[in-house]
Symmetry: C2
């Protein structure tokens, strides 16, 4: 033990950027992860919990925007001063460890290997408000299948997962893109592979912040940002930038055109309308989703949306081989998803999806919550992304030298929990315990027997274990614990074979709002025979639960 | 990506002493922790998940037997080379972080604060067989109550927890001791506080290994151990060592005497038998647990066991103040537990319990599994300890300067899981998914629709996503996945509106044991209309589940 006089006391503080989670924060997350695991399991995914500690070598360097020491990870060197060994680090995500696990155990694992993983990851980043250096991820990946069916399955599973945890259909959208399509567009405009392409990717990723005009400027010469600093552009000529912008906006363009069509009957549509031309020709050429004799209703529009976007993308990539491959892959995903009943109202092709991580090689996806919240400045905005992923066909190759295709998703657990709270899907705190108060210190054994009875009946309950002298403190404690009921048995009650049962929820309501007359009619404290303790407590708990509905 | 020619490939290996957990290893642990959390919650304990990373300063140095660098923890220094900050470390248990959390948040927490926590902890120790540097703990503690009712509650909860996860009554024993009793005995024999007392504690802790004679030698001059090395003793005179040995054996002595008494009717007992004297006088003086007119039956023996041990201990500590306080505390725990129905067949006083950690100040407890297993050398032995804890009244004081009493338990999650496997309470692997095979690559959408139907019916299912060319590989895959059923739909089946359903469990049984005749009578493959897919699969799954009972 520290001797206060000789040695300063340690500070009782989490390290900067770390935090603790209490009560319902923990149980709600556990429950949500259990629901997610249930969906993943039903899809045939197996659990994996890899070591939290990896060699730095095995982790690799795939974190974006890293300019801090240790490359964004928490790392240390094994062994004593005189006998230093490997550098070890805490994992920064669950994907890099999966590549290591698969390479290490591939002979014992099924191929394809579907696995899910959930747990904390650590980033050695500058902490900020709401930005922690330890947070939860919840991943599902399929290793060893290059089939687009694997990507389609991940997207379908993500939609099912969001609904399973309580996010209603219509409040989320899975947005899908393919890295190859942009590469096709860049090939068409004559931009070679390398840094310029990466710069285009980064520019597109800023669309949410800077808008269409901003992206145009940044693809060209550059722009003045809000702080007054001049940001250099990629340096594309306007005729090079234009197809990139069209690519970026393809989803939005299709949405707007379908909206216009939705307001007209088929008879009213001018098939030669230049604005609508490409979409209309596509609709007329396609049989899928088109209902002869009726106007474009919502479900027809949903059925057409992805097909129309594919049509636009196909025109943009012209005859680029990689671009066409990307569009074909997207089409395959769309066809597989529609066969399972997932149309564009749930899973939509959207070229503005980029995903920061460098290792994606094909389809990328993102789950976005579309309902609006107020941000810290009181402005309305969409809740935004809660999950993302994509195909990374080269990660396992780092270890084995052999290409192993893989694709997967990562859910941001804390953001999804925040969204569910926002939607009122989870409550602020756990149900507190019934508190058996201590009126007579010497009869602790009686109170323990009482609480054992309650617990054996499946009721959350505890004896007050603090100093029982001040009865008011016991009730304050019960209040702090969100206790539904307090049980009181003084010497007088004991003698008469009764107990007092106090309905604390009703008591609080009465104290807050009721008039004296109501108070008399609905007492919140009851005297019952000791033998009726369990029955009466249960009755009150049931009534409270009913009142909350 | 690494370029294999320029840069060596990273090794696909967990760091030494770390491991990965697959499938059922993860889900079974998750399920067990869920059951444990259920019991803890019912007892009124609230969840806490503290940061995995703490400052080295906050963690303190409480690990026993540490002679490695970094004092047994994984630690690193914050910040860049030129701007070094705090030393951080991974937590080595869940108790030291609780003390920090309570000190940091005490104004927002209820007092007493009952909390549970579960998660990995890390030890920078030499790895060995079955000894890992990351493992799970599952703790429950009550901070802010000095009442023995808090300790009694922890013991009762531990018993309930073991039964809730599937350990039958009779296969476990919670053993309780109190540090103060030994201190009382040492006071009586005139041994001052300090290193000698610690040495006695370490010696008693070796009882399991060296036995009674070994302990006697080690308390005295020393002994030759099995390797031929001479181990120095504590140096007590024989008359000093004797009370210590009697203390250590008090539980065992009482057991033996009660066994003897159990074989006699009361009439047959000689009240002057010197061997039995102290126990008999105690029995005759006590009213608790004694049934007049009948012999000592098992339940009477159970009721007497703890009281008799307390009697022996009280004689050993004579008039030592601290010793008497310890015995009184133990008695209080016993009385409270018996009021709740926990007698010595579940929770027993046993002075041989020591618990290595230095910070315990009063009661200590240990959960032991008493059934026998074969060790790695084929010898029978008791399974042993799966949980331990005790009262540590000074840990929070390190931070705040104010004494805050606390007591709690830690369950060794991996050992408890191993015990449940040993008892056949949990199965070797999860139920595998139904595998929809791919006969025709172009009809992937059909197979996806089929699997979506199965999943929507709540059936774990997947489409084979590997290369479908070799059908044998698909069935091998299903086998590796422990799949119960395979679904097959070739072009011919598609045309006829049917599917083939293969019962893989039955198929394996037939292949293993049946004669050709039985094979014909019980086919393991069925052709059913496509519309009956779900019903037939469910029928087979139900039959398999029934067959496993």
């Amino acid at each position: 033990m520290a001797k206060p006089k000789k040695q300063p006391r340690p500070k009782a503080e989490t390290p900067k950027g770390f935090r603790d989670y209490f009560g319902a924060e923990v149980t709600q997350r556990t429950e949500m992860l259990r629901q997610i695991a249930g969906v993943y399991h039903r899809y045939g995914f197996d659990a994996l919990e890899s070591s939290a500690v990896e060699t730095v070598e095995a982790l690799g360097k795939f974190l974006p925007d890293v300019d801090r020491p240790n490359e964004g990870v928490f790392a240390w060197q094994e062994g004593a001063e005189e006998d230093k060994g490997d550098w070890l680090a805490l994992r920064y995500d669950l994907t890099a460890p999966l590549a290591r696990v698969y390479a290490q155990h591939r002979n014992d694992l099924p191929t394809p290997y579907r696995r899910y993983a959930m747990g904390p990851v650590w980033r050695n980043e500058k902490p900020g408000p709401g930005r922690y250096r330890q947070f939860y991820q919840c991943d599902a990946d399929t290793v060893g299948s290059g089939s687009m069916a694997a990507d389609a399955e991940i997207c379908a599973m993500l939609a099912d997962t969001l609904e399973a945890v309580g996010m209603p259909r219509g409040d989320y959208l899975i947005r899908v893109n393919n890295r190859k399509v942009l590469n096709g567009v860049l090939e068409v405009i004559g931009l070679p592979e390398g840094e310029d392409r990466a710069a285009v990717l980064r520019t597109i990723d800023k669309f949410d912040k800077v808008g269409e005009a901003g992206v145009r400027e940044l693809l060209g010469k550059g722009r003045l940002d809000a702080s007054g600093a001049y940001i250099d552009g990629v340096g594309l000529a306007p005729e090079q930038a234009e197809p990139v912008v069209q690519f970026l906006l393809a989803g939005k363009t299709v949405d707007e055109k379908l909206d216009t069509l939705g307001q007209k009957t088929l008879g009213e549509i001018d098939p030669d309308d230049p604005e609508l031309h490409s979409i209309i020709s596509m609709i007329l050429a396609s049989k899928r989703g088109y209902r002869a004799g009726s106007g474009l209703d919502v479900s027809a529009s949903n059925a057409l949306r992805n097909a129309a976007t594919l049509h636009v993308l196909r025109e943009l990539v012209c005859n680029s081989v990689v671009g066409s491959e990307g569009v074909n892959e997207l089409e395959e995903i769309v066809v597989l998803l529609e066969a399972q009943g997932y149309d564009s109202s749930r899973i939509v092709i959207d070229p503005s999806v980029v995903r920061g991580l460098g290792y994606y090689t094909g389809p990328v996806y993102e789950a976005e919550l579309t309902f609006e919240i107020f941000d810290e400045k009181g402005r309305k905005r969409q809740f935004g992304s809660v999950a993302g992923g994509g195909r990374y066909d080269d990660l396992v190759k780092r270890f084995t030298g052999q290409a192993v295709p893989a694709t997967g998703i990562s859910i941001g657990v804390d953001r999804l929990l925040a969204a569910l709270r926002e939607k009122g899907r989870i409550t602020a705190h756990d149900q507190g315990p019934v508190v058996v108060t201590v009126m007579d210190r010497d009869r602790m054994a009686d109170y323990q027997a009482m609480v054992a009875e309650l617990r054996n009946a499946g009721i959350r309950a505890e004896v007050y274990l603090g100093n029982p002298k001040n009865f008011g403190n016991q009730l304050k404690y019960a209040d702090r614990r969100h206790s539904p009921v307090a049980v009181i048995e003084g010497g007088d009650e004991k003698e008469r074979g009764v107990v007092q049962i106090k309905d604390l929820i009703l008591g609080a309501q009465i104290a807050e709002s009721a008039t004296l007359e109501e108070w008399k009619e609905r007492p919140s404290q009851f005297e019952v025979p000791r033998t009726d303790l369990i029955a009466k407590v249960r009755e009150i708990l049931d009534a409270q639960a009913g009142g909350q509905d």
